[in-house]
């Protein structure tokens, strides 16, 4: 298990937050995701055997929110 933080741009409200959380939590290898609207950040717990930190960040970016892997 690995904790990953991702910066997320483009969210405007809690509905954006819930949309990202519910969509990304369904991805194989994503154990949990918590998104902060104020910090413009997402914290994920992933299984690196199933998904890389880069792909996890990319999955958020693919939804239309600019996402960059921080750590």
């Amino acid at each position: 298990e690995l904790e990953v933080t991702v910066s997320v741009e483009g969210m405007t409200c809690m509905s954006c937050v819930r949309n990202i959380e519910s969509t990304i939590s369904k991805k194989p290898g994503v154990k949990s995701i918590t998104v902060s609207l104020e910090k413009k950040m997402a914290t994920l717990i992933i299984d690196p055997a199933q998904i890389s930190p880069e792909d996890a960040a990319e999955a958020i970016d693919d939804m239309g929110f600019t996402a960059k892997l921080l750590s």
Partner: protein, 70 residues
């Protein structure tokens, strides 16, 4: 020839509209995207098929459907 396709999208805020613009904007075959949160509509000017555009819009995680050619 590019056509203008109309889609319904369950947008709740400008964040949703921005996401729609961004996912579609990544496609070089898309030349214009207009959104209206109020009317729940996305207008896309593209040479791609509406199926392909709908598939792309659905990446936003929002419920969407194809309406027709504008």
């Amino acid at each position: 020839m590019a056509s203008v396709y109309e889609f319904q999208m369950a947008m709740t805020c400008e964040g949703c509209a921005g996401a729609a613009k961004r996912v579609l904007g990544k496609l070089p075959e898309v030349s214009n995207v207009e959104t209206s949160v109020e009317q729940q509509r996305v207008l896309v000017t593209s040479t791609l098929s509406p199926d392909r555009l709908l598939e792309t819009l659905q990446k936003t995680g929002k419920e969407c459907s194809y309406i027709g050619v504008k």
